[in-house]
Symmetry: C2
Subunit: 389 residues, 2 copies
């Protein structure tokens, strides 16, 4: 007989999920009601309004896709692209590569613009690609590369796309709620995110928003969207305004309670204050890591405060350190992904995890483990540097 | 400012979600850990084992898709079908129609076998279609039609498919945990379900299982699966056995806690006992409804105990009755779907909702509302009949 699962608590400082605010855990366990219950419809409207705030948009087509971030990504691609379309895709980490995979599976063609992992997307290269491909329908890029910790200049890239009559598909999985993101002001067209990063909610939903231009493109498709589940024309029959909701699929009721609570918390703190908190905690963590002799993958100018990709010191066993942090400190930090596997750690400071206690715990734990492994590290130096930052 | 959402509790006797066992709600709120945490990997293995029990299968490729039942449906279609393939699809309600939509969006051709809504799928018609289409790759049918409450003979249909060298895609969204379902013994190939029906979990996940024959077909495809998110070749890198899990997408951690608990509860009760409980509660409810002069859409022989589609009495306002049940009794029953909208109610007795208190509450509430609306109903007759049944 298998018995109930009672997990031992961890401090989550990897690339997501981040520590979940206890208020959200409490919300998840609230009584389940129907997906067509008037109470639920009202909560859906509020969730939409709160997402519009988080994305800084007035887009009507703003909602959480009922599946994780990868499905939100796919929702953007399958709704905007048709067979034969051309997309310019910027690759500077794992998630740009995944975008190419999405483009291909839509029967569309991908023109890639490549930058080194750890660098931001280069606007000059993008401009050249836009000029060379006047028939491109969309420009696709990752705002915050979760695999490297690099932030790209979404505002500049979107402006270039507009100058060339191109729509944009933008990955904001790790940026939403953690760094400045202004969908309307920057003119982003199809934007997807996740709940388990800087919103500090549990994983499983993917907030998306589509500009009026993007919604028009979806309405005027020549071919049906290849995914029935992700077809925004159908999804909007349920999420669209008005009292009469057409059943499309059964909404993940309790997961949506959690997202609603996460967004209420964000609204209470205020978006700009949340961005500032992430920046402050990063400054402190970075000072401490430097005191430990640990360097960053990304230049300071382009670093994401919420995702700190740092180089594993020479001679140190990646997996052994992470296993020790987990077993002795119940602390999870992330491994490298793709080309950076085994070379970097990814230390997350996302949402509820971006607090001074976590910074201190992480620095202390890392210091102790490194000392144990014979690294020449001065006891207490990390936290001293962090406090002074 | 929008404040926290605190829903008023309801009794859920619609077509799903069903009442969620408090143990599952408690599990949802447990501390979030990482999707690569060794604790979590162990829980995934247990969930797989418990799903194998629920499906009565030893299929290696058995797991919950990280999205609702519609995505589970899509997972079966996009993985098994390639452009140009032919599928025989049985339609006897809304969900057969949706299957056709899925076939088309895969670039495949659908040959339909139609039966009246409320009737089971006719094996003779299916046999004729199989003979007429020797090039068909899959036979697709709904085991338990949630829109009508009809049960089709999955065992016989699957045997016919095998005789003609056809794979099967079977919708068990409403049957899993509620009526007899034996994936291995009956030889079903690609089977999908939902969590919010007879497993009484919250909505948002879709258990699926693929036979070795189906898994082979997926491995030997000529073209990539059109959905990256639902590509079983990739999903199995994470859900597949072994200690080393490849990250594909971030699993919906807390939702999986809920499903694990739901399956532990099913295992504690025992599958056969759960089937028997659904049958007994149905017998009682049916006797009470008959005493109220309310008839069934489906002949007794083919009725699903967990989904009772009943004809709305002449002259009674469908929406008004449902609204009154909700406002005065906090009781949700379901409206008709598709061709049956406005003509029937769908009363669910699913999972945790299939208990004597719910039967009694439903009969009392319905009786009172019908009396109020001037129906010639004898006070107390419904519950008397139910108790005697």
């Amino acid at each position: 007989m298998i018995s109930s699962f009672k997990p031992r608590a961890r401090t989550l400082m990897g690339p997501g999920p981040s520590d979940v605010n206890p208020r959200i855990l409490e919300a998840l366990g609230r009584t389940t009601i129907g997906h067509l219950d008037p109470q639920f419809i009202e909560m859906m409207d509020q969730t939409k309004q709160l997402l519009q705030y988080a994305f800084q948009t007035e887009n009507e087509l703003t909602l959480p896709v009922s599946a994780p971030g990868s499905a939100g990504m796919e929702a953007c691609f399958v709704n905007l692209l048709e067979p034969g379309d051309k997309a310019i895709v910027c690759i500077n980490g794992v998630f740009g590569t995944r975008m190419v995979e999405n483009v291909k599976r839509c029967g569309a063609t991908a023109v890639t613009v490549e930058d080194d992992w750890g660098k931001p997307v280069d606007p000059e290269k993008v401009e050249a690609a836009l000029k060379a491909n006047p028939d491109a329908k969309v420009l696709c890029f990752v705002h915050a590369e979760t695999s490297t910790g690099a932030r790209s200049d979404a505002k500049t890239l979107a402006a270039l796309a507009q100058q060339h009559g191109c729509l944009t598909i933008v990955d904001t999985v790790t940026s939403l709620g953690g760094v400045e993101l202004r969908v309307d002001e920057w003119g982003l067209d199809a934007v997807y995110s996740g709940t388990q990063k800087c919103l500090s909610c549990t994983p499983g939903l993917s907030p998306v928003t589509f500009s009026e231009k993007a919604a028009d493109a979806i309405r005027n498709r020549k071919t049906p969207v290849q995914s029935w589940f992700l077809d925004m024309n159908l999804v909007m029959g349920y999420w669209g305004g008005g009292a009469k909701r057409a059943y499309h699929h059964t909404a993940p009721i309790n997961a949506l309670y959690g997202l609603h609570e996460a967004l209420v918390i964000l609204q209470e703190e205020g978006l700009e204050k949340a961005w500032a908190r992430h920046a402050a905690m990063h400054k402190s963590l970075a000072a401490g890591l430097e005191a430990l002799g640990i360097g960053f993958v990304v230049d300071a100018e382009y670093r994401l405060p919420q995702l700190n990709a740092v180089t594993i010191p020479e001679g140190i066993d990646d997996a052994a350190v992470r296993a020790k942090l987990l077993s002795d400190y119940d602390l999870e930090i992330g491994a490298g992904l793709g080309a950076l596997a085994g070379k970097v750690w990814r230390i997350g400071l996302m949402g509820h995890s971006a607090n001074a206690e976590n910074v201190s715990l992480c620095l202390n734990a890392l210091e102790s483990v490194l000392v144990e492994m014979g690294q020449p590290v001065e006891k207490g130096a990390a936290n001293k540097a962090a406090s002074a930052a």
